[in-house]
């Protein structure tokens, strides 16, 4: 049993923001990263735990000023099933639906997946493709302040983000992509069930007059952070999707990533698999498929 001394479950955002600035307080969302870390002794058990799931306004998908907003406490299973997300951002629904198993997906939140900052966080790559931003709220002397951070700038390293002590990720936002785009995401694991990705790849493309006019590429589990594939994007934009272009993109991807060797795969294998996954996705895009 974690030796927690105090458990708080604020209902209003102002109360949460105030409580979160308490020295030594830890934010608890779904607990699916935190509780295993506590029981393995990887993270010291917090004296004060602040459960944020009862805070009004942090749960659910909504549309505000033309943007799709997802509350930090929305469980990933709800994201996988949400009709708006499935229609407008199917890559995110796909990634959310492939996290772990039903028991975990029912608890795991989007905010927790991002704030835990694993390079393997499955929702991060689709959010890079969607050019999402996160809202980070914190206490000031006379209330609350919110700053907006692009998802590509949120991660700082394995387990590290730009979150300041006491700062809370309140929601994730993105503009629904224009119709007719190609978008795909996939992860590769050592078994089909309960897989933490050996590597994951996502691609979003606009193709106009036979050429890629815009591209976003992302890789998971192959760098200290979920990585935007700028090198491969640069090889792609303005070019037709010929085997030559695709080959150069895959090579750029293999060069840009910085995989490590761990229990799941070697660095060399990860480099190889990322190239192959990216090549296959671009071939699908070139053949006129939507994803």
């Amino acid at each position: 049993m974690p030796a927690i001394k105090k458990y708080l479950a604020p209902k209003a955002l102002e109360d949460l923001i105030r409580d979160a600035s308490t020295e030594g307080a830890t934010i608890l969302a779904g607990g699916t990263d935190l509780l295993p870390r506590w029981s393995r002794g990887l993270t010291p058990v917090a004296e004060v735990v602040i459960d944020i799931k009862r805070v009004a306004g942090l749960n659910g998908v909504s549309r505000v000023n033309g943007e799709i907003c997802i509350g930090a406490c929305t469980p990933v299973c709800d994201i996988a099933k949400d009709p708006t997300i499935r229609k407008e951002a199917p890559v995110l629904a796909e990634a959310a639906g492939r996290i772990a198993c039903p028991q975990i997906r029912n608890r795991a939140t989007l905010g927790g997946n991002l704030c835990n900052a694993s390079p393997a966080a499955d929702t991060a790559i689709p959010l890079i493709l969607l050019e999402a931003v996160v809202d980070l709220a914190s206490a000031t002397t006379d209330g609350t302040t919110v700053r907006e951070v692009p998802i590509t700038e949120f991660f700082r390293g394995p387990g590290a983000t730009v979150l300041a002590p006491g700062e809370i990720l309140t929601r994730v936002r993105f503009k629904p992509p224009a119709g007719g785009m190609f978008a795909a995401w996939d992860k590769f694991g050592t078994r089909p069930a309960m897989e933490i990705a050996v590597a994951s790849v996502g691609v979003a493309l606009k193709i106009e007059a036979g050429k890629a006019s815009w591209a976003r590429i992302g890789y998971g589990s192959v760098a200290p952070v979920p990585l935007r594939g700028r090198a491969a994007e640069a090889e792609l934009v303005g070019k037709p999707l010929t085997p030559q272009t695709i080959g150069k993109c895959a090579a750029a991807a293999r060069d840009q990533i910085e995989p490590i060797t761990d229990v799941r795969a070697s660095a060399a294998y990860r480099r190889e698999i990322v190239g192959v996954m990216l090549r296959r996705m671009l071939e699908r895009a070139g053949s006129g498929r939507k994803g």
Binding site: M1, P2, A3, I4, K5, K6, Y7, A9, L28, G31, T32, L35, P36, S39, R40, V45, V49, D51, K53, C77, A100, C101, P102, Q103, I104, N106, R107, A193, M194
Partner: protein, 160 residues
């Protein structure tokens, strides 16, 4: 735990019955179910979300009770394997597990049955593939899974 931590009030519903007790703030739902409420049908396998032996329903959703603090359940409804029986009769899922030989040592069984229950509540006519996906988070060291899938499949209503 060396230090004495003050216990806190917890009021929730377990298997349809309102409960109120005092628990340490760090107690997991699994610990409270097994140790305070003596509902030992729910099992401790790994304590890390990997095995599913501790599966229960929390407000209708299947969760790993080892990864939930009891305090998080304040005001909520929990359903455990003990709550499936009605009028002294086993639940149809329990009967199917017996009939199909889907139980050997039985340690995974309560978790498997709760995961199957959650599936059938949401989708009364799942395909074999959907059953396998729904039981992905439940490990069994004995049966090889085939009989478990068959038991659940026998309950899938025609017409999906």
């Amino acid at each position: 735990m060396q230090e004495v931590v003050e216990k806190v009030e917890l009021a929730f519903t377990v298997n349809g019955e309102a409960m109120s007790l005092r628990v340490p703030p760090g107690a997991t739902l699994l610990e409270v179910l097994r140790e305070d409420l003596e509902l030992t049908g729910t099992k401790y396998g790994c304590g890390e979300g990997e095995c599913g032996a501790c599966s229960v329903l929390l407000d209708g959703r299947v969760v790993n009770s080892c990864l939930v603090l009891a305090q998080e359940c304040d005001g909520l409804e929990v359903l455990t394997i003990e709550g499936l029986r009605s009028n002294g009769q086993l639940h149809p899922i329990q009967k199917a597990f017996v009939e199909y030989g889907a139980i050997q040592c039985g340690f995974c069984t309560p978790g498997m049955i709760m995961a199957a229950y959650a599936l059938l509540e949401a989708n009364p006519s799942p395909s074999e593939e959907e059953i396998k996906r729904a039981l992905e988070g439940n490990l069994c060291r004995c049966t090889g899974y085939r009989k478990i899938v068959d038991a659940v499949l026998s309950l899938a209503r025609e017409g999906a």
